[in-house]
Symmetry: C2
Subunit: 218 residues, 2 copies
């Protein structure tokens, strides 16, 4: 096989794997985790047999699907906060952007909510990044009221999940205001003075369109 043909095969394999991952993400978002592999391959429009070239079990695919979605979104958040020197503001901006995810990318939001509790203490994805940001803000003396990193992370991830659920349950609710208010509450809880917490959560955000949408995942 020439190098060119080899690359073509690699690209095709990557496309097939990505199609399976996307199909699994759609099923998880709908809460259909009992869906048979055959149906996943049909949604992905790939042959049933090819599934096992990429994954040993459905659980392995689902795991990859969740991790992929959250890593992609987390990478986007990192890019959208790279210009900030203040770790407290970096945490706040990420949290406000995650709060805007539920309406803008409801499928990804539901992947997050369906797996959220198991992921809340994860060392990957959004939880890893939230821990990193909170830790940096503590070290910089910005989150002086945080006495226990695990508990601070637990409150922040819990608030992310219940905010998402609230926004899905109440489609009339203003999601921007809700996300900013909760972020402000968390900043105060972590030790940022109230007026400064308010100010940080009113600052303009980068264009959320810069956050990749689900269809560009993988």
């Amino acid at each position: 096989m020439t190098e060119q043909a080899g690359n073509r095969v690699d690209r095709r394999k990557a496309r097939t794997r990505a199609a399976l991952v996307r199909a699994a993400q759609a099923c998880i978002a709908e809460g259909r985790t009992t869906v048979p592999i055959l149906e996943i391959t049909q949604i992905a429009d790939v042959g049933m047999g090819s599934f096992y070239n990429y994954f040993e079990t459905k659980e392995q695919l689902f795991q990859a699907a969740v991790e992929d979605a959250l890593e992609t979104f987390g990478d986007a958040l990192d890019a959208l906060t790279a210009d900030l020197d203040d770790p407290a503001e970096a945490f706040a901006r990420s949290f406000r952007l995650v709060g805007r995810l539920h309406r803008r990318q409801p499928e990804l939001s539901k992947v997050l909510l369906h797996n959220g509790l198991a992921l809340a203490g994860s060392d990957q994805g959004l939880a890893r990044r939230a821990r990193r940001d909170i830790e940096a803000a503590v070290h910089a003396g910005r989150f002086a009221a945080v006495r226990d990193l695990d508990l601070a992370l637990a409150v922040a991830t819990g608030a992310t999940l219940t905010l998402g659920q609230l926004l899905h349950d109440h489609p009339d609710r203003d999601d921007l205001e809700a996300a900013d208010l909760i972020t402000e509450d968390l900043l105060r809880m972590f030790g940022v003075p109230a007026d400064e917490a308010h100010d940080i959560c009113q600052r303009p955000l980068p264009d959320p369109d810069d956050v990749p949408r689900r269809d560009s995942v993988a």
Copy 2:
């Protein structure tokens, strides 16, 4: 049928229904929500046919099981906080007791965690009581920083769920300290001064053995 015999039939029916509810609670706690009805009746040690005398579907039984577990626990919390005049302390005491639930009653805790996100905004069970307590404390001027009751409830319920998950994931973690620290953080977030929040969360709790255990549910 004599009145006495009628009462005996009623009691037997109540026992059968309670056995089904307890079996469903055990399955939910293990995450086995796809378990067939036959198996539930075997766990409950009742005839397969009797299932449909009490419930139309398995979903109906599961719903009843979750509501029953949380109402029973909620009633216990109400009894354990009835002596308090300060609604901020009533919220704090309930929250600290719920935090102690995860280790003391792991099955009930897992029922809560498996259904938690859907229940977080519920008008029943623990969410209804948490909303009532937060609202009373706001009206009494004790939670002056709460601007939005739904969001305050979202943060509190989210913290309950992620604290439970953290304690299950880290069996070595001191659950009493963790529950009290998180409660203190929430009180501060809701507007209670830091020193007072700390003091409230150090006060003695009623004997948690007064909280009914799972086997006395229903």
